[in-house]
C-alpha cells in the first residue's frame, strides 16, 4: 500500500479557495438571461414588450406630468399649455367637490360625510382585522344608525328609535324563552319589534322630538346626495346586507324542504338571469305599481334594495359552491356530535364554507361596488353624472380624459384594495400544510 501511494504523482494537501461563480450565473445578469432572454421566442417577446412599454409611457408620462393644475376653464388651460399635448388636471382641482359630494350637497355640511367616512373605517376595522381591539365592535353595531343620522340629518331620536326596536326584540325573545321554546320565542321577538317599529316607536320618537330634539342636524334629501358619497352609501349597504341574505338563500337552496328549495332556486335564477340595469329601471319606474298608492319609497332606498337583492343572488351561488366543496364527513360529524341544524351550520359548516368561498365573496363585493355606477342611468347624481354635468358646463366643455381617469382611479383604489385584502385573508386562514 505504501509504495502505491508514492507512485501517485499529485496529492492535494490543502483545500482550494472557493471561486466565485461565473459572471453570467449570478446576480442581475443571470436573472436577465433566465427571465428575459432564454431562447429566441422569449427574446422576441421581451423586445416587443419593451417597445410596447416605451410607446405607451412616452405618450402617457408627458401628458400626465406636464398637465396644468390651476386654471379656471378649459380655454385658459389650453392657453397655458400653448399647444402642448398634456392633461388639464385643473378640472379636478376646480370641481373635485362635485365629484366627491355631488352637485347638490350643501357645502356647509361636507364635514358630516367626512365624519361618516372616518367612522366607517373605525367600524369595519374590527371586522377586517383580528388584532384590532374587540371593543370597537360596538362602533360597528351602532354605525348604521349613526350613518343614517349623519348623512340624512334630522334628530338623533329617529335612528335611536329604530335601534331600540332591536333591543325590544331581544328582551321580548329572552322573556318569552322562559315560558316557551326557541321557535315560538323568536316569533314573539319579531312581532314585538314590528309592533315597536310601526306603532309604539314613532309615537315615542315624535314625543321626544317635540320635547327635546337630540343633536338635530340639517335635513338632507336623498336627491341632494351624489358623487362618491352616494356610491359609498349604496356600495357599503349593499355589501353589508347581501352577505347574510346570500347565506340564507344558499342554505335554502341546499335545504331538504322541497318547497323552500324551489322558492330559493326561483329567486336566485331570476335575479341572476336579468341585467341589473333592468332591475334598476324596475325600481325607478315600476315600483309604484306594486305598492299601495299611499306608500312611497325613497329612490336611494329602492336602489339599495335592488342592488342588494341582485348581488345576494350571486352571493348565494358563491356560498353554495363553498358548501358543495365541503366533504360530506363534516355534516355527518356535526350530526354525530348531536348538534341541531343551526348549531351545525354556525359551528362546523359555515366557518369552513365561508373560508373556501372568500375569493368569490370578495369578487361579488367588488362587482357590486362597480355596479353602483349604473345608478347614473336612473337619474341618481353619482360620479359619472357629475362628470357629465361638468362636461356639459361651458367652462369645461370638451374635457373627457381627466375626469374619467380620476373617477376610474377612485374605483380602482377601492376595488384593488378589496382584492388585496381578500388575498391576505385567504393566506392568513390557510390551514393546510404546504
Amino acid at each position: 500500500m505504501t509504495d502505491q501511494k508514492s507512485t501517485i504523482a499529485f496529492v492535494r494537501t490543502h483545500m482550494l479557495e472557493q471561486l466565485p461563480p461565473p459572471r453570467g450565473e449570478v446576480g442581475p445578469a443571470k436573472w436577465i438571461k433566465e427571465n428575459l432572454f432564454s431562447g429566441w421566442f422569449n427574446t422576441i417577446l421581451t423586445l416587443l414588450s419593451i417597445f410596447v412599454i416605451y410607446t405607451a409611457l412616452s405618450s402617457i408620462i408627458p401628458w400626465v406630468f406636464g398637465g396644468v393644475w390651476s386654471a379656471s376653464s378649459l380655454a385658459e388651460c389650453r392657453e397655458i399649455l400653448d399647444g402642448a399635448h398634456a392633461a388639464c388636471w385643473a378640472v379636478i382641482n376646480e370641481r373635485w367637490q362635485q365629484i366627491f359630494y355631488g352637485t347638490f350637497f350643501p357645502s356647509s355640511e361636507y364635514w358630516r360625510t367626512h365624519v361618516a367616512f372616518v367612522l366607517l373605517l373605525v367600524a369595519i376595522a374590527p371586522v377586517l382585522f383580528e388584532t384590532v381591539p374587540r371593543k370597537l365592535l360596538f362602533v360597528t353595531v351602532v354605525y348604521p344608525f349613526l350613518m343614517v343620522w349623519l348623512i340624512w340629518g334630522g334628530s338623533l331620536w329617529g335612528p335611536i328609535g329604530v335601534a331600540a326596536g332591536f333591543i325590544v326584540a331581544y328582551y321580548a325573545g329572552k322573556i318569552a324563552s322562559n315560558y316557551t321554546g326557541s321557535g315560538l320565542s323568536a316569533l314573539i321577538a319579531i312581532v314585538a319589534a314590528l309592533v315597536w317599529w310601526f306603532f309604539v316607536g314613532p309615537l315615542v320618537v315624535g314625543m321626544l322630538d317635540s320635547v327635546v330634539p337630540l343633536l338635530p342636524l340639517r335635513e338632507i334629501q336623498s336627491r341632494e346626495l351624489g358623487g362618491f358619497v352616494i356610491s359609498m352609501i349604496i356600495g357599503v349597504s349593499g355589501i353589508a346586507l347581501s352577505l347574510p341574505i346570500g347565506i340564507v338563500l344558499a342554505l335554502g337552496r341546499k335545504s331538504d324542504l322541497p318547497l323552500v328549495k324551489m322558492m330559493c332556486v326561483g329567486f336566485i335564477e331570476f335575479f341572476r338571469g336579468v341585467p341589473l340595469i333592468t332591475l334598476l329601471f324596475t325600481a325607478s319606474l315600476l315600483l309604484n305599481y306594486f305598492l299601495p298608492p299611499s306608500v312611497t319609497f325613497d329612490l336611494t332606498v329602492r336602489v339599495i334594495v335592488m342592488v342588494t337583492i341582485f348581488s345576494s343572488a350571486y352571493m348565494a351561488e358563491v356560498i353554495r359552491g363553498g358548501l358543495a366543496a365541503l366533504p360530506k364527513g363534516q355534516y355527518e360529524a356535526a350530526d354525530a356530535l348531536g348538534l341541531d341544524y343551526w348549531q351545525a351550520q354556525r359551528l362546523i359548516i359555515m366557518p369552513q364554507a365561508l373560508k373556501i368561498s372568500i375569493p368569490g365573496i370578495v369578487n361579488t363585493f367588488i362587482g357590486l361596488f362597480k355596479d353602483t355606477t349604473l345608478v347614473f342611468f336612473i337619474g341618481i347624481f353619482d360620479m359619472l353624472a357629475a362628470a357629465q354635468s361638468i362636461r356639459a358646463n361651458s367652462e369645461w366643455n370638451g374635457i373627457t380624459w381627466e375626469l374619467y381617469i380620476f373617477i376610474g382611479l377612485i374605483f380602482w383604489v377601492c376595488c384593488f384594495s378589496m382584492s388585496r385584502y381578500s388575498q391576505w385573508l385567504e393566506q392568513k386562514l390557510r390551514t393546510d400544510h404546504r
Binding site: 321557535g183 322558492m263 333592468t278 355596479d371 373627457t400
Partner: protein
C-alpha cells in the same frame, strides 16, 4: 291508588309536535313559507290591479302589433319604422345577441392570450399582463364603454381627412378598411353566380374537419400514434374552398368602401357605438377570462406535468394531452358564466346609444306607448330566457365533462 300517571299516548298527535317534532316541523316550515309567499304575491297583484285601475290602464300586449314609428340604426333583418313594435324588439334582441356573440369570441381570444402570457417565464410579459388584468378588472365597465366611445369619436380622423392628394389619414389593409370618427367601414362581400357552391364546399369542409377529428382520435386511442392534426385540419379548412373558389372564377368579390361626398359608401358600416360597446366589453371581460384561464392551469397539480415529462413527453404535447384536458374542466364553467355576464352587460349599450333590446323594447317602444309594466316584464323574460338557455347549455357540457366516478 286512584292517582295514576297518565298513560303515555301511543300515537296521539299534539299541536306542539308541529313545532318540536322534526318529522312534522319540515311540513310546518314549508306551509308557513308558502303562505307567506302567497300573501306577498297576492299583495303585489292586488296593488298592481288597483294602481292600473286608478290610472285607467289594463295589462294589454296589443301595442306589440302596432307600427313602431321609429328607426333603428343597425338592423340585421328587414325593418322599417312601419314594422311592428314586436319586430323592433326582435331587431333589438338580434343586436344584443350580435354584440354578445362577437364579444364572447373576442373576449375569449384576449383572455386566453393574456392568461397564458401571465404564466409566461418572461418576467416582463407576465408583468404587463398583470397590469392589464388588474387595471381592467377594477374599474367599472361603464367607464370603459364611455372612454372607448370617446376615443373612437374624438381621436379618430373624420371622413374628410381621407380626401385630397395628400390626405391626413389613410385606409388600412390595402385600402379596404376605413377607420373614421363616424364609424368603421369594412368591405362588403358581393355574391356572384356560383358562390353558393363555394359556401357549400366550405360547410362540407367544416363537417370533414369534425369527422377527421373523430377518426384521428379513434386511431390515436387504438394505435397511440399522433397525426399532425392541426396542419391537416387547416388544410381541410382552406384548400377545397379555395380550389372551388378559383375554379368557378372567383364568384365572391369584396367591395371596398370608397369616399363619396361627405362619407364612405359601398362597404358595411360598423357604427362607433357598436364598436365601443364591443371592444370595451371584450377587453373588460377578457381580463376576467385571463384570471380564469390562469387559475385553471395553475389548478392542475405539478405532479401531472412532472409525470408527463417523466414519460418523455415534449412540453407542447404535455400541454395538449395532459394539462389542457384537465384544466378545461376547471375553466369552462366560470368561462360560461363570464359569457353570461357579458351578455347581460351588453344592456349597458345605453351609455353609447347602441340600439339593443333594452333600447328598443325597454326604451323607445316603452316611452312611445307608455306601457312600462308590459315592456319591462317582457324584456326581463327575454333576458331570463337567454340566460337560462346559456346556463343550461353549460350544465349539459358540465355533465359530459364531469369525472366519471365509479
Amino acid at each position: 291508588m286512584t292517582t295514576m300517571i297518565d298513560p303515555p299516548k301511543a300515537d296521539g298527535f299534539r299541536i306542539s309536535q308541529l313545532l318540536y317534532d322534526t318529522r312534522y316541523r319540515a311540513i310546518t316550515i314549508q306551509v308557513i313559507a308558502v303562505i307567506a309567499f302567497a300573501m306577498i304575491a297576492v299583495f303585489l297583484l292586488v296593488n298592481v290591479n288597483r294602481n292600473l285601475a286608478s290610472l285607467g290602464k289594463e295589462i294589454d300586449f296589443g301595442f306589440l302589433s302596432n307600427p313602431s314609428n321609429y328607426d333603428i340604426q343597425q338592423v340585421l333583418v328587414d325593418y322599417s319604422s312601419q314594422s311592428s313594435n314586436l319586430r323592433a324588439a326582435y331587431v333589438g334582441l338580434l343586436n344584443t345577441l350580435f354584440v354578445a356573440f362577437l364579444g364572447c369570441i373576442l373576449a375569449t381570444l384576449i383572455g386566453v392570450t393574456a392568461g397564458v402570457l401571465r404564466l409566461s417565464k418572461n418576467w416582463l410579459v407576465a408583468k404587463i399582463m398583470t397590469v392589464y388584468v388588474e387595471t381592467f378588472r377594477n374599474i367599472p365597465v361603464v367607464i370603459w364603454i364611455i372612454a372607448t366611445m370617446a376615443v373612437l369619436s374624438e381621436a379618430l380622423p373624420q371622413p374628410r381627412a381621407f380626401r385630397g392628394e395628400n390626405p391626413d389619414a389613410s385606409m388600412w389593409l390595402w385600402d379596404s378598411v376605413a377607420v373614421t370618427g363616424r364609424g368603421t367601414y369594412i368591405p362588403r362581400p358581393e355574391w356572384g353566380a356560383g358562390s353558393i357552391f363555394v359556401v357549400i364546399t366550405f360547410l362540407l369542409s367544416l363537417v370533414a374537419i369534425w369527422a377527421f377529428g373523430r377518426w384521428s382520435k379513434r386511431r390515436f386511442e387504438a394505435t397511440g400514434q399522433i397525426l399532425p392534426n392541426v396542419w391537416i385540419k387547416l388544410a381541410i379548412f382552406a384548400v377545397p374552398t379555395l380550389l372551388v373558389f378559383f375554379i368557378l372564377g372567383r364568384p365572391i368579390a369584396l367591395v371596398s368602401p370608397a369616399l363619396k361626398g361627405f362619407n364612405f359608401q359601398g362597404g358595411i358600416q360598423l357604427s362607433n357605438s357598436f364598436l365601443a360597446l364591443w371592444l370595451a366589453l371584450s377587453v373588460y371581460t377578457g381580463s376576467f377570462i385571463a384570471e380564469i384561464v390562469r387559475s385553471g392551469i395553475l389548478a392542475i397539480s405539478k405532479g401531472q406535468s412532472e409525470a408527463a415529462f417523466a414519460l418523455g413527453m415534449r412540453p407542447s404535447r404535455t400541454m395538449n394531452l395532459v394539462i389542457l384536458p384537465q384544466a378545461l374542466r376547471v375553466i369552462i364553467p366560470p368561462l360560461i358564466s363570464q359569457f353570461l355576464n357579458l351578455t347581460k352587460n351588453s344592456s349597458l349599450a345605453l351609455a353609447v346609444g347602441y340600439q339593443d333590446l333594452r333600447a328598443t323594447l325597454g326604451g323607445t317602444t316603452m316611452n312611445n306607448t307608455g306601457r312600462e309594466l308590459e315592456c319591462m316584464l317582457l324584456m326581463m323574460m327575454i333576458y331570463l330566457v337567454v340566460s337560462l338557455l346559456i346556463s343550461s347549455g353549460m350544465n349539459v357540457y358540465n355533465k359530459s365533462m364531469k369525472l366519471k366516478e365509479r
